[in-house]
Every structure is written in C-alpha cells, then in structure tokens.
Amino acid sequence: MKILKYTFLFLLGTMLSCSSDDDTTIEQIVTELDGLNKVQEIANDTHVIELYSSTGTLEQGFNGISLRIKNKTTNEYEKNATITWTPVMHMAMMMHSCPKSEIAKIASKETLYNGYIVFQMAQNDTEYWDLQVDYTIADVAYTATAVVNVPASAKQRVTSFTGSDNVRYVIAMIEPTTPKVATNDVTFGLYKMESMMSFPVVDNFKIKIDPRMPSMGNHGSPNNVDLTQSADKLYRGKLSLTMTGYWKINLQLLNNIDEVLKGETITETTTASSIYLELEF
C-alpha cells in the first residue's frame, strides 16, 4: 500500500511540476484562488479590493482573510502594494478595534495578500463592524472602507474577559478547523487589549485546556497538551477528542509565572470554567 501511495504522490508531483512550466498569468491568478471564496468587495474611486476567506463569509472569532486589489482602470491586480487594515466595531457609545495580524503578500502568490482578524464580538441590529484598508502603491497612498458582515458563530470560537491582573484578554480558536476523533493540533491566538484600538499578542503565557462533553456526564479526554507560545507567536498544544459531538473546551489562562489569571479547574461541582471555547462536529 505504501508503495502505491508514494507512486501516486510521485505522479501527482510530476504532473504539477509539468503544468507549472507553461503557466500563464491568468491561469496563475485563477489557481491563486483555489480553496478561497469571495466574501465581498470594498471599492474606492481607483480600486476594488476583493476579500476572500475559505468559506466566503466572515464570522465572530478568528477569520483568515485574503485580499487582492484590482485597478479599476487597467483591470489588473496590483502586485506591489503595502497594506494595513483596521477593523472597527461601531457601538452606541464607543468604537473599538480587535486583534489582527499584519497583512502581507504570500510568498508564492502574485496578487494575494493575507492576514487574519479576530472579531471578538458579533454584529447586531445596532452595532456593526467596518474594515478600513489603507494601502500604498508606488508611493501613492489610498484608502477604502466598507461595512463587513460579522454574524455570531454557531459555537463559541472566541472569548474575551478581564483577568485578575485587570487586563482585558481575547482568546480565539484558530485550529482545529476540521476537528477529528483523534489527537488534534490545537492553535489559539492570545491577545490583550492595550487600548481601544490596539490588541497585541501576549507573550509567554500558558493556556490550559480541559475539553468536556456536558451532554454526556461532562466527561473529559486524556492526553491533552496545554498551549504554549510557538515561534509564530500563536499558542499551540494538543486537543484529544474521543468522539464526535459537542465539546466544551474549558480554559485557564496562566501568566509567565504560572499564576492563574482567569478560569477554573473542572471538578465534580465546578462543571465548567468561566472561560471556554466550543467545538461541534
């Protein structure tokens, strides 16, 4: 079986490398969008900014977002833009932003720029998110803004809370995107609210996890690995899911000297932590 598998991979590899020989730009631009679906467009007088995600939607929580900028006059996609973005929540009494990454061109791509945004809350009837994209092409600065649609997620993928150190934190689930009955790689983003508009990554903390199934006696799972920060600043660990269904991932946030800032250990009487994320599959 292994031989068969490797032969298949080898053939696949040769086929792919063959096709890249006679690439045309158009083909490449099309293939650049593989696995992506358009969310919406943000336009100004000169450009149309196309937003993409894997699902074609945005929602509360972590969102991996790709974008490209089309020049309205040439109909070509810009290849050398420097981009920043600012998502803003418009509430009745105030405005604030949310955790986000830089946005940069993906090395292997011609026109796509990539980053992520963690919407820690969903829109509602009166409150909404917009996204401002500032970009510079050939030393000329442009900007474009549009309202984006951020509905609540079916399950809790992000939590924001105030720790015992009086700092407001945001924890968002990045992985697993397709959970399995297995030991899953688990990735969270951990951010703190420095100001209304600044949510930097928190370094050297620890996120303890205790996945439970409240629908079945609140049983847990073995061999989970608590999340610690890896080189790319995200927090990674292992999440064991012993069956399909609804899992509540109870959390505890520990600072760099292992003090618990928020969250409780699960016991017979404490059946859930005050901070948690959810999965259902």
């Binding site: 009955v181 297995a182 629908s215 006696g217 049983h219 399909t244 269904g245």
Partner: protein, 664 residues
C-alpha cells in the same frame, strides 16, 4: 513454580513405580478432555434428563467449565476459570468470533442443541489443535446423519418450561440415500422473564431464538466425501438483566464446505480440509430500559473467513496429526450516543476499530504408543497472528492514547506440549507439561472505552501488550474398580504477562456513572489451578451416587485474587432411574467466596447450598416413537446467586418442564 516441581517429581516417581509391570490391556486413554453429549437424536430422549435444555445448561455439567451468567441467555463458558479471551471456542473446528464488545454473544449462543452431537472440552494446551489457547478449547461438534441407516427420518419436538413460559418447538427432516444425505432442522424458543426463588421475577431476562441448520454430504466413492453445512441463528428481544443494555438482534450465518479423503495403503490415513465463512451481526438496545442516562446504539459485526487442512496418519507406533489453520476475521463495533438536546450532533465512536485478525499456523502432534498401557503425545504449533486496524478513524482514536501506534502488528505464537498416558486395569493416570502463548484479544488490544458493568470501569485496549505465555502442568489420576469410579484431575497454569485491566486515575471515564478508566496491562504473572475430583458409585442398579468437588485458585503476581475464580464447589446427587422414571436429588453449593477479588469489582458472596430435586417421567407411546418427559428443577424454589452470576443476578427458581418428542 513450586507446585510444578512437585508434580514433576510425583510424575517421575510414579513412572518408575509402574514401569516394572507391563500388562497387555486395551489402552483407553484418560484424557484431560471432557465430552458433553448433547444429542444424537436417538440418544437424546433416552439419556438426557431434559433433552431440550439449552446448550448452556448442557455445558454447565462439565467440571472444568463455569458458565458466567448475565441473564437467562448466552452464558459465557469459562474453561479452567479462564474466560473467552484465553480459550478457543470452535464449531466443528471453525473459528468464529462474537460481535459484542461486552461478551453478550459467546459462540455457544449461535448454535442450538438440535445442531450438535457433543461438546468436547479440552483443558489447556490439549486444545491447541484448534488454535492458540491458554485455558483450553471447546469444540462444538455438529450432529449429522450417517450412511448406516438409509431412508427418510425426522422428528418433531416441543417443550414448555413453566418458570419463564419458555415455548420450544423444533423439527428435523433427514434423508439418507446411497451416497447422499441431507439433514435439516429448525428450532424455536420463546421465553418470558424467569422467576428466581420466592417468585421474584427477574426483569429483562426474556429471549427469543430461531435456529435453522442444514447439512448435506455426498460420497463420491468409498474414500472421497464432500459435505456442506449451514447454520442460521437469529435471537431477538434478548434481555440481559445483569447489564445496562439488552439485545435487539444477534444474528449469525455459519457456513462451511468440507472435503475428506481417506487414502488407501498410505501413511496418511485421512485428509480433511474445510473452507468456511461466518458472519455475525449484534445489536444492543437500551430503548426498553427505564431511566437511561443517555440513549445509545451499540452495533457490532464480525466476519470470519477460514480454512483448515488436517492430515492424520500412522507410522508404526506413531499416529500423527499435521494441520494448517488459517482464518481472517474483521471485527467492528460502534457506539452512537444521542444527546437529550436534539439539535446537538450525535456522539459517535468506534469501540472496535475495524480490526483484522489474520492467523496462519501449523500444528503437529504425534502419539507414540510404547505399549498397550502407555503412550506419549507430543504436540507443537507455530502461528503468525497479524492484526491491522482498517479504519483511519479508529486508528486516530487509539492514537489519542498511543501516539506512536501503528495500524498493524504481527506476532508469532508458539506452543509445545507433551502428555504421558498410562493405564492398567482399573488404574490410570495422565501427566502433561506444556507451554503456550496467546495474542491479546481485540478488546484487550484495541477496545476503546468499553464499559464493564461488573467493576464499572471503562476499558481501553493496549496495542503494546506482550503475548501471554503459559507454562502448564496437568495431572489426572483415575481408579475405576467395578464398585465405583473416581478420578482427580488437576491443571496448574503459570501465566506470564497475564493481561488484565488496571485503573489509570489520570483518565476520566466516558460512561456516565463509571468509576474510572482501566487500561489493559499485564501482571508479571498469574497462577491458576483447577482441580476436579469425581466420585460415583452404584448402590443398586437403579441408584447412583455422583459427587464432584471443584477447587479453583487464581492469584496475580501482585498477590491479589483474580476475578471469577470459583470458591470450593461441590455437587453431590443421588440419581435414581427405574424404567421410565428418573429422579435426582442433589446438594449443590459452594463455600464462602473467600478468594473473591475486590480489586476487580467482586463482592464477597456468601456460601450457598441448594437442595435440587428434579424428577422426570418418560411416556413412551406408539412403539417408542412418541415420548414425553416431565420434570421439576429446583423444587424447593431456592433463591441464590453465585460467584458466576454477573452483578449478583439471581438464578432461576422452581421450574417445571415438559419435553415431547415424536420421531419417525
């Protein structure tokens, strides 16, 4: 080990003792073998007290067998106090594996007395010709017509048991021609809840079972013979009062095709090969139970393809058997739990992750006849036991516990046994020394959160388990003068890497209400002893006194008792038989269960003794063609339960039965 040396010394001293006087006598082996006759139809009515008893009731008569009861149906036969992982159960040499993760369907539950002529129980390695075993083997032998009596024959029989309103109806129709025969039989049982002593009804102990079977044979010429056989068995609405779940369906199709060749003028006297296929579907059901914490479905499937090839032969004083055994089994079991919130996704897991067991082995034995009084049998086997998890889902599930685990694993299993037999006049003895190995069962190696309602732990398999290795010494002695018969058989097992679940407090249980999780691991060793003393004598031609004492011992290297080890048990009965009336009165019981195993969830059971009084009368009508037997069992209606009763489920109280047979 000390005991082993003791036995060895005893053996050598005795051989020198008896080696001097050699006497010519027809050699009759006394074996570490028990044969329970079930029913050549002809013998059936005459010999059996209750001919239409279940197969489980028949097997219960054997001294080395303990039946673990989870209710009124599908008792689990333990041989030498060892459960089905450590034994091999076959039907006419065919390997079959139950499809239930909770042992609710031992192989014996897929056959019927109408299918069988006898059950052969071999202790320890003397059963290794059927496959790698530690405790022994149980081979259920099919009944079939012979070419001796030609024509059409058959029977219709029916029975009723008043205790559980069990209705039994069966029929057979056989045709025997010059070179062709076909046997067909069908049997149906339908029982309601049984009542323990004092009329206490045991809820969820009902069952219904339909069994059909056909065997057809064709004789090409004098020495070539081909035979096809099929058994279909379907049990529905089976209650398991000792367990949290019942069974809505247990269905088996067991098929085989056999070829026999008897070479003339050859060293090989018989060549026999069989190919077989069997498939089992087992569906657990909790929908009828009140107060179920969470409703769940637990179906299981087991398919086995197999073949064997046996060569029997004789060279001078040696008679030998060379066998090749091969089988491929695929076992799968699922568990689906339904949350009370219907909007929530179902919870699904694979409890047996689509596991292949592929076994190929050779077996050789040779019996050398020194003289008409003594012989020595030496046997050896070597096999490859290969497991593979077919399901990625299942493999990844288990990798939660064993991150580096691979899908497949191959093991070599060896056995070596020698058995010396001596008999002269009324006296005989048998001594054996053996070594055997077995691979972990599917549950032990690959089970995923299997709830054991006995110790209330969830069990998780361990693919890294070593093979269990057994060193075995056995000794049997018999003395049969004309006035009485007595025999003592003892088997001693020293089992290294004895597989058993040990609690892991760091892991949370999955089942609601479970005490924790046990991971299968191994004790350094365990020691088991089983000793059976039989004594019977005729007071008069009609009155017989039959006694049996059984001693069992089982302890692990951690000095803890092993579970399901019988306390000292006894059975003493007077059997009276005069013409058509038979009656027996007996005292059956065991001492207090001092060797109980609290570590494995056992509670100390008190001693019990029940006076069992049963009688039957045979009405022969119409020139023996129609006969009727009526009887009473547990006439004093004692309420009791023993170490072998799962979760202290009480046994059946007073029962009146009627069996009618009309043969033609």
């Amino acid at each position: 080990m000390k005991n082993l040396y003791f036995i060895a010394i005893l053996f050598f001293s005795m051989t020198s003792l008896f080696a001097q006087d050699i006497e010519v006598d027809t050699l009759k082996k006394i074996n570490l073998k028990e044969v329970i006759l079930i029913g050549k139809q002809a013998q059936l009515e005459q010999k059996q007290f209750k001919p239409l008893a279940t197969i489980d009731e028949y097997l219960q008569q054997a001294g080395t067998v303990e039946m673990i009861k989870r209710g009124g149906y599908a008792w689990e036969p333990n041989i030498n106090n060892m459960s089905t992982e450590r034994t091999v159960i076959t039907i006419d040499g065919m390997r079959i594996f139950g499809a239930c993760t909770d042992k609710m369907d031992p192989i014996t539950s897929y056959v019927e007395v109408s299918n069988l002529s006898e059950a052969e129980i071999s202790s320890g390695q003397s059963g290794s010709c059927h496959g790698p075993t530690i405790g022994g083997s149980l081979d259920l032998k099919r009944s079939k017509s012979t070419f001796a009596k030609k024509g059409i024959n058959g029977y219709i029989n029916s029975g009723y048991e008043f205790n559980n309103q069990q209705k039994i109806i069966g029929a057979a129709l056989n045709y025997v021609g010059n070179s062709f025969f076909i046997d067909n039989n069908i049997m149906f049982r339908d029982a309601e809840n049984y009542k323990a002593g004092n009329n206490n009804e045991v809820s969820f102990s009902q069952f219904r079972k339909l069994n059909m079977s056909s065997t057809a044979g064709y004789l090409f010429n004098k020495n070539k013979y081909i035979e096809g056989a099929v058994i279909y068995d379907k049990a529905t609405d089976v209650g398991y009062p000792a367990l949290p779940m019942d069974v809505s369906l247990a269905e088996a199709l067991i098929t085989s095709l056999k070829f026999e060749y008897l070479p003339l003028n050859s060293i090989v006297s018989k060549f026999e090969t069989k190919v077989y296929y069997n498939t089992i579907t087992h569906t657990m059901d909790d929908t009828k139970r009140p107060n179920v914490a969470i409703h769940m479905d637990m179906p299981g499937w087991s398919d086995t393809y197999g073949m064997y090839l046996n060569l029997n032969g004789k060279v001078k004083k040696n008679s030998f058997l060379a066998a090749f055994n091969s089988f491929y089994n695929l076992s799968k079991a699922e568990m689906t739990m339904y949350p009370s919130d219907p909007n929530e996704n179902i919870m699904f897991m694979l409890t047996w992750p689509d596991v292949v067991t592929f076994y190929n082995g050779i077996y050789l034995d040779n019996t050398y006849v020194f003289n008409p009084n003594s012989n020595l049998k030496v046997s050896a086997s070597l096999g490859n036991h290969f497991n593979e998890i077919k399901s990625t889902f299942g493999l990844e599930s288990l990798q939660i516990f064993y991150p580096d685990m691979e899908a497949d694993k191959s093991r070599m299993l060896k056995s070596l046994a020698s058995n010396y037999n001596w008999k002269k006049g009324n006296f005989g003895f048998n001594f054996g020394l053996a070594y055997g190995e077995r691979a972990p069962s599917i549950s032990e190696a690959y089970g995923f959160y299997l709830f054991n309602s006995f110790d209330r732990y969830d069990y998780v398999g361990n693919p890294d388990l070593k093979n269990e290795q057994s060193v075995e010494g056995s000794f049997a002695i018999s003395y049969k003068p004309s006035k009485f018969k007595t025999s003592l058989t003892t088997s001693y097992f020293h089992i290294s890497n004895y597989i058993i679940g040990t609690p892991d407090a760091s892991i949370l249980p999955m089942t609601i209400g479970a005490s924790g999780v046990k991971i299968y691991s191994a004790l350094d060793y365990a020691t088991l002893i089983k000793s059976v003393l039989d004594f019977e004598t005729y007071f008069t031609n009609d009155l017989k006194w039959v006694n049996q004492f059984t001693y069992s011992y089982g302890k692990g290297s951690d000095d803890e008792n092993l579970p399901f080890i019988s306390p000292l048990a006894y059975n003493s009965k007077f059997q009276f038989k005069k013409r058509k009336f038979a009656s027996e009165i007996g005292l059956q019981g065991n001492l207090i269960h001092t060797n109980y195993a609290p570590t494995y969830g056992e509670i100390k059971k008190p001693d019990y003794a029940i006076l069992n009084f049963a009688s039957n009368y045979t009405f022969d009508l119409n020139q023996n063609k129609l006969n009727l037997k009526a009887g009473v069992e547990n006439i004093l209606d004692s309420e009791y339960s023993t170490f072998a009763d799962w979760n202290t489920i009480p046994r059946m109280g007073r029962n009146v039965f009627l069996n009618v047979n009309y043969g033609f």
